[in-house]
Symmetry: C2
Subunit: 267 residues, 2 copies
């Protein structure tokens, strides 16, 4: 998306789905996420918390040239204070609530910008975004630490230890990071351990900061298998037993739900 | 240095100083810092804390081809637990101690990898490295935040507030970072304020983590003017009145001191 200007979203979409579009009818296309951002296809203004996950009634339709297309972009959700935004996660939460209509608790959506969301009575009540995934990418790929964690290996005990350390003393984060480099230089800290420690340090910091969300609450994780598993293990370490839902499945459930609503309205 | 292999350090040095070398005598060249790292000219093994700042007696001499050169590389200092290393800062501390021989307290050397060093009885007792400067660079230049702090502006009140916030609740770091992006999207947070808040958030986190170093101690900052001033103002906010020494002057004082010792020994 970062490379597309507003006028090339339609050609980009047609390149992906054009071959599947029947020529003699109009096909609804329902979208969510950054496609509705200011730098996206067309801006779909945020709904503000507290609110239900946006539905088809909140969608914005960009003008299209191809008569086979009928495009609807679901908006994201914003929060005034502390200032925060999401685009895409609200639709995954909508999908999750389809399957778990009475859910009352915290939804964690790990990723580049991990969201912790308080959900109650079918509404998104409040949320907070943590830059955990982006910090991990920057530090593992672009910082001096990249020399110390070159492989894809993993050490579960190192992850757990780092997670605990970060929750206990979050103020040591930036010193703990450099200790990975020093440990590699002085004590032969292995790349697998260093990688797991980096991940544990950042996820532990996030769990320390998101404590009001998960403490004593029902928790669901919506994420890709590997990352959701990491968060699950970190949460297990603090006595939280989370439900896991697949991110892609929840996105599709949220979009499908909007589609079904649209068909019902058009009847 | 990252682009030099071991065998091209001598040509690189000659390119810089060759024109100043008298042809009829041997000129001593005293170096410190990453030139003595494993990936440098020749590895100068670390001295281990507690130790005096390394002097000429600890220097390693690489073989050179040019008969006008007599090169000495001062080693860095390491710490076993927590694992930590420095190269260059120990020489600046040596220079500082030349001017302040009785100094007993904490020396802060802000930079890409900021060091907090406990100095007592002329020795480096212990130290801790914080990745504050590198985090600032990565986040301001390569993360999603770069869109929110495009200029070089500055807002002192925003810096102070962010510093206080980070010291009070270091566990919110990664959420506080994303709030800069959200604040810019939702509330028109200016690039100057966002930039100062980012800096304050990271320096505040460091001050929270380095508290055992500065609390109730005499504190000296060895740094470039702008950065040293930032740290000074952050420390003033927690009631610490620091002495400031210029980084380049301290490096030269440390190297000069090693040179003087060498001349005395050769007499």
């Amino acid at each position: 998306m970062g490379q597309l200007t507003s006028d090339v979203f339609e050609p980009a979409l047609l390149e992906l789905v054009g071959d599947f579009l029947p020529s003699n009818q109009v096909t609804p296309v329902i979208c969510c996420g950054m496609v509705g951002a200011r730098q996206g296809w067309i801006e779909a203004p945020y709904l503000s918390v507290p609110c239900k996950p946006p539905g088809i009634g909140n969608a914005i339709g960009p003008e299209v040239k191809d008569p086979r297309l009928d495009v609807h972009i679901l908006p994201g959700v914003s929060q005034n204070l502390p200032a925060d935004v999401m685009r895409g996660e609200e639709t995954q939460i909508g999908g999750f609530l389809q399957n778990n209509p009475g859910f009352d608790g915290a939804v964690c959506l790990p990723g580049t910008h991990t969201k912790w969301v308080q959900v109650s009575a079918g509404e998104i009540v409040s949320f907070r975004t943590f830059m955990t995934g982006e910090l991990f990418s920057l530090l593992s790929e672009r910082s001096v630490l990249r020399h110390s964690l070159v492989d894809e290996g993993w050490d579960e005990a190192a992850f757990n230890d780092a997670c605990n350390d970060a929750m206990t003393s979050p103020q040591h984060l930036s010193a703990r990071l450099f200790a990975l480099r020093a440990g590699s230089l002085l004590h032969g800290l292995t790349p697998s351990k260093a990688r797991a420690r980096l991940s544990g340090s950042l996820i532990g910091l996030e769990l320390a900061g998101s404590r009001p969300y998960w403490l004593g609450r029902e928790v669901a994780i919506i994420g890709a298998v590997g990352l959701a598993g990491l968060y699950d293990r970190a949460l297990t370490g603090v006595g939280v037993s989370a439900t896991i839902a697949d991110a892609e499945a929840m996105t599709l459930a949220g979009l499908s739900s909007a589609f079904v609503k649209m068909k019902e309205q058009n009847k």
